[in-house]
Symmetry: C2
Amino acid sequence: MKNECIDCPCIVKYFRTLNKCQAEELGNNHVVVRFKKGYPIIKQGTFSTNVLFLRKGLVKIHITGPYREQIVRLIKRPSYLGLPTTIGDKINQYSITALLDCEVCFIDLNIFNRMLEQNKDFSNYILLELCRSEVESFRHCANRTQKQLRGNLADVLIDFSENIFESNKFLLPLSQSEIGNLVDTTRESVCRVLSEFMSDGIIRMEGKKIEILNTRSLKMISQNG
Amino acid sequence: MKNECIDCPCIVKYFRTLNKCQAEELGNNHVVVRFKKGYPIIKQGTFSTNVLFLRKGLVKIHITGPYREQIVRLIKRPSYLGLPTTIGDKINQYSITALLDCEVCFIDLNIFNRMLEQNKDFSNYILLELCRSEVESFRHCANRTQKQLRGNLADVLIDFSENIFESNKFLLPLSQSEIGNLVDTTRESVCRVLSEFMSDGIIRMEGKKIEILNTRSLKMISQNG
DNA sequence: AAGAAAAAGTGATACAAATCACAAAATGAT
DNA sequence: ATCATTTTGTGATTTGTATCACTTTTTCTT
């Protein structure tokens, strides 16, 4: 499963284009690991000494709450994974699981820290990343708790089409109970609302393939709960 | 309202004790502002070029959601305020309001950035702060959406007595509708549950003064929803 | 390709909390 | 001290969603 790679295109290439730091610093101090769809990348409660960078695929960040599993957010490439916990106390506060086949760079924490220290642009960039992601979490959370089911589901569908797949037609890589975990509801309720959306002609479903037929309606539903 | 202060004890003193950076760097590049209970310190959507440090008092972080006001968290001194937004895109993503009389240091963002650049320990400290607060947000959010009202209210009371006032007897600086905004429910429901807690002998109330009579019960309620 | 396991669909029922509607009490302003 | 305003307390009713129970369909395994 593991395979070393000296000249892999992940963050090295990413930084080269963004001009964020000397890509050379990484050298072969990182490793690319492939994860098949559905496999865990990080497990809540475990110890971590690597910074992860998602160079291919899509993952979910989820935490085991008091009663059910809760999906906090989805992250698509290219992006760092779990920065706050790796930089923080090293104990992973959440799990990360592959929703599609993924390729993840594991960067040694020492190297990462050296980069942080030596490169102002880079550390600035990381700081900004953290800020953005916290604000993002706030918004996400506020929306979810204030809207009701139809609104939240509409949001998920819109988000998928706009940000995750950038098309109105996509293969939803989540089961209905996973969608439930994302919008804080049960599998059954997700099913019911999706059926409603279908019979209202807002979406069309074929297995896990979803096509959004009426984005305007979805946005309306998103707005008035 | 405003008054300059060259030798104020806020962050200067704070850093001196924590040995996080040369307190001198701040010099008189910061200003202390006092806010009376109930007054807004930062308003969502406004532009900010200062880093804030709460040296006295208690504040709420709240965002105007699609339907109601939502309190994201309470912050007591000593603590930075709104770091992610000030460091980020400078537009405040949430409001901050004084719950008790407060004193806040306004530090010029340029100075703050210079400190970040020049002092490794300091920037490390800020990085850690950000990480901690993000993870904290996750947990808070997950708990709230998974438990039901009684559990959430119990949590708020426990949090107040343990972290905010460090005593079982406190003057609750929130109205019932504010508590509602904190646990995502209505004023009426908060009232009802508090009454229940009273008649169960778990708490005692005199106006806004709340005394916790049975912490064990509260923890039980917190645990099993 | 066949059988097992997981996911999806859907009705009936239960229930926590929202909403509405007032009255009582507390707090602030003049 | 008095009046106005904001908070609190509580009942009656509605409602969105959870829960339970079962069937059908899809997906995975060997």
